[in-house]
Symmetry: C2
Subunit: 253 residues, 2 copies
DNA sequence: AAGTGGTCTAGACCACATC
DNA sequence: ATGTGGTCTAGACCACTTG
């Protein structure tokens, strides 16, 4: 038996090696990373998206599932679909276990003290980490993190300018103990992804004195690059803490 | 408008808070972890599974997608669906970067030399790690891993008995440089998941001499627990290497 | 050519959250 | 009560892999 006409109409735009759902996802991914869809805002209902794009519900759902897996949207049953907000942070403390009473992994947010805040010329290494094409100014912070009053982590932070310039116009006491929520609130910079590189080192004399440890004491050094929704690197951070307190668990497969 | 009869028949087994696809996945998950479906073997085609269980193709696919995400099956377009085999290993070397010529992350499999192989009574810590209810015998291995002839990692390994007893009946030279493939081939134990716990420590005098380092030298200590398909812990491994060569990258979100 | 997984449709019904 | 995402069906067609 042959058919004179296909039972189903072919897709209006003939897929160029790209599945329909992948195309929709790409389109919406761009809307998010470009900021046209604001972080935290609601996305149109599946049904409505399906009508708008003349696609079946299942196809729309497949596209949304892809974006959800990428962490760009969050779906809430019976409520709606929302553009991802900035991560509150990937606590540096998860790399350490300081035996402060509780033996459970520390859940408290460490107190933050900003030691220094100034604009400096980016070194070659910093420029590379922040994808700066030319030598350019960056915002440099030194920050001490304390747990139960005891200094535990020393952070050296470089932030992209002019994106993060608004931090300069507020006293650091107003930032709160977490940097990323402050970046989102004050600068409109939403940190969405980060990459931590861990190695072992020894404390310089000045670094050691901040942490109340002897010079040359072994430390863990965590080098982080943080990226905004568009994938642009916005922060480089070097965090140092006592090597004896370092503890990290990796799940394989 | 009311309907005298539902357009679609209700599921034969009324879901007890469990989605149909989740039930199918649970059933097949059990078949895999119990060994009824052998690692590497082919699973029946989607169409056939759908007929067998009187379910729609989409539902079967949803169940299989779940198992694929868990790493229990592997799907190959145009070929078939296969039960996952044992992982070849989560190379310990991924935690280290030894500057042997190439600066790229070492991809070569390090040579293995078994220093010691014997049956010992499990200590309390080992018994806990391997979920042994009573004090029981375990297979203890000491192994040195070499890169370009240079000793780089020292491993202390405890294996569950009697599961891994077959290793005792073959000369260690026949095992090859990777333990997990040997466990699968000789013992029928398929390592499917592992958990690595990282910390910094100092080398004891005997350990240091094996690695050609001075006693007290800082080292990275990776404590691994490896699990078979059923989730049973089968291996505990302590790996030590020069802390200065330690380097690890974590992706957040 | 035959068999497999991957995409897409069109629709019904269910479960959850909010007003 | 209404609207949202989640489940399920039944079927057609596409793309890939192998004999």
């Amino acid at each position: 038996m042959t058919l004179d006409a296909p039972l189903l109409a072919p897709p209006s735009a003939p897929a160029r090696g790209l599945a329909r759902y992948a195309g929709l996802a790409a389109q919406w991914r761009d809307a998010i990373t470009s900021g046209r869809w604001a972080p935290g805002s609601a996305v149109a209902a599946e049904q409505r998206l399906a009508e708008q794009h003349s696609a079946a519900l299942g196809t729309v759902r497949q596209a949304l599932a892809l974006l959800a897996a990428e962490g760009l949207i969050e779906r809430r049953h019976g409520h709606g679909t929302f553009v991802a907000s900035a991560i509150v942070g990937a606590p540096m403390l998860r790399f350490f276990r300081f035996g402060d009473g509780a033996q459970a992994p520390n859940s408290a947010v460490p107190q933050s003290v900003v030691l220094q805040r100034r604009v400096v010329k980016a070194s070659a290494a910093v420029a590379r980490a922040l994808s700066l094409s030319q030598p350019q100014d960056v915002l440099r912070l030194d920050r001490l993190r304390l747990l139960a009053g005891a200094p535990r982590l020393l952070e050296r932070i470089w932030l992209r300018l002019p994106e993060c310039a608004a931090l300069l116009q507020h006293p650091s006491a107003d930032w709160g103990d977490l940097l990323y929520p402050a970046l989102a609130r004050l600068c409109g910079v939403h940190v969405h992804r980060a990459q931590d590189d861990i190695q072992f080192a020894e404390l310089s004399k000045p670094d050691a004195s901040h942490l109340g440890l002897p010079a040359g004491h072994p430390c863990a050094l965590v080098q982080r690059r943080a990226f905004d929704l568009s994938g642009q690197a916005v922060e480089l951070r070097h965090t140092r803490g006592d090597a004896r307190a370092f503890r990290y668990t990796v799940e394989i497969r």
